[in-house]
Amino acid sequence: MPISILPPRRAHTSKVAEFSRSSYDDDRSAAEEGEADVDMEGDIPMSGALQRNKRGGRTSIVTPGEVVTDDPQWMRGHGTYLAVAEEGEEVGTRIVATVAGTVTKVNKLLSVKPLRARYTPDIGDLVVGRIMEVQSKRWKVDINSTQTAHLLLSSINLPGGILRKRTSTDELQIRTFFSEGDLLVAEVQSLFQDGAASLHTRSLKYGKLRNGYFVKVDAKGIQRSKSHVLTLATANGGGEVDVILGVNGYVWIAKKTSLSDGKKDGKEVSITRLEEEASEAIYSSVNEFIAPATRREIARVGNCVRALVRHDVRVDEEMLNAVYEAAVEESMEERGDADESLDGDGGRRCVEKALGLDLFSGEFKDK
């Protein structure tokens, strides 16, 4: 069937609210009786507000306006604010949540991580961005965040033999480097005062992207980890495929080429020789020849990434390899309803195979 129309999925309706309305009082009385709460880890116990809501799960959430703690020794981090002192208090010590999310405690810092939020840049993040606007000495880059990032002309590699000063000719020719719509991979160098990121591409492994396909996923699926540039050895004669997982949720999947790993002749390029080694080619928009087999595998990898994020699984090297293998197996089985796009049940099966458990019930499957 080329077209499938499904009924809407009703994940949690007011039925849950009704249920919790009746059990709300039960839980409150249970907590007041002093029943031990799970997962205290020997920390200073939270105030009554949090205790009341630990209902069955190991972690539970706080909602805006909820007092997380009133213990003065905690410092407040993201997602919270310090409530104004009430009568009888000298200084306000109550930390109140501003978003709905989970509480995280690092040393003495208490913050609330929201369930869902736009990507916020941090120094050192590897991001994939798209040029939105070209200004006189810099570019504005869309990184799927609350603000557009900036890429200064002085932060990119300029082709040329010597470490040269950016001249006015460079400014006039700014579009020969990056133009509107171009995709690039960069690192967050610093943050402006208002939180906007400033990017740089001063390494051969950063720069303009080509020979591949762009996928946008929810930034939640890609957590900060050691390496964001993965190489997959693909099946069916596809060769090697690079996957660049931007922390901001933008992913680039491309055929592996000699330029893309930032090495020349197999050796790392030192920073002093950077300008000499960087040639005109790094700003070219022309793709190499890519065989159909590779294109097919690139599409498959893209679907794997999407399927992982759709089922709330973190995308990393191990998981991606596992789902990719499962996807290749599925396509080899030649089922009647083969769906290479992994959008529906096919994707869920692959992710389940990779995880080794049933996604709906959370139980482990027997292999």
């Binding site: 949690h12 007011s14 809501n53 805006p64 604010y81 501003t98 709905a100 939180g195």
Partner: protein
């Protein structure tokens, strides 16, 4: 609609409620996956979809403020939302008034200073009107903003209350005014009603709108009833958010 039928002598309203009963309030979060945050609210027969985009880079330079995020609200009444089909023009005064009221309310509740030079775009689609539309919009916005992870000092909750005037007739002792909680369409058409919006469902009022005339001494009674309704609604909304949140956390933990 004759006045008498709005509140029967036994104290039952047209839809069978008593004076202090809320209609069934149901809501869902994350109903529109393409948006940063979204919610769907059904309050009696009033149905509203709310989507939030942001904080994002503002499209118009005028919305870029150094001090904090700019909140922009757009309200769309669907032409099929009322009893008669009626297509509203964009510049409709009533719609603009609602937009401004919502924008001011949420600019106060949202911690805008955390996102300077950006804008938060809230869009409301009213699919079906059955009274308390502004209050329902406020509640839908709150849920959608919580879904989007926009930092707020607390829930913004709104509720309506009206005043039913009983004429004494032969017996002057029967005369009086009963406040009614949570007005539906028929009640709003005939009776004065007030919409009260609070931050936190408590006593911090951030929105107050009265339609038609009412005697000053009656206003306090109506407000008290509406504030009580706000408190109940905050609990309901909080449970909905927690249920949704716990489900999300459970899925990620797998």
């Amino acid at each position: 609609m004759s006045r008498h039928e709005l509140l029967s002598p036994e104290g039952l309203r047209i839809d069978g409620r008593r004076w202090n009963e809320l209609r069934l309030f149901e809501a869902r979060l994350s109903t529109t996956t393409a948006a940063d945050g979204s919610s769907y609210v059904e309050w009696g027969n009033t149905k509203i979809i709310c989507t939030v985009a942001g904080p994002v880079e503002p499209k118009m330079g005028s919305n870029r403020s150094q001090d904090g995020a700019t909140v922009v609200v757009e309200v769309c009444f669907a032409a099929f939302s009322g009893n008669d089909r009626k297509k509203r023009a964009r510049g409709d005064k009533r719609v603009q008034e609602m937009q401004t009221a919502l924008q001011r309310t949420f600019s106060e509740a949202i911690l805008t200073q955390l996102h300077p030079r950006s804008e938060i775009l809230i869009t409301l689609h009213i699919l079906s009107q059955d009274g308390s539309v502004l209050a329902a919009c406020v509640n839908a916005c709150t849920l959608a903003l919580v879904d989007a992870g926009v930092p707020m000092s607390d829930y913004v909750v709104a509720c309506t209350a009206g005043s039913y005037f009983v004429r004494g007739g032969n017996n002057p002792e029967d005369e009086g005014e009963d406040p009614l909680l949570d007005m539906n369409n028929l009640e709003e058409a005939d009776l004065p009603s007030v919409t009260v919006g609070t931050i936190g469902g408590g006593e911090k009022i951030t929105l107050l709108q009265l339609e038609t005339k009412v005697r000053l001494e009656k206003l306090e009674g109506m407000m008290a009833v509406a504030l009580d309704g706000c408190g109940k609604l905050r609990e309901l909304m909080d449970e909905i958010v927690r249920a949704h949140g716990n489900e999300v956390v459970r899925r990620i933990a797998l």
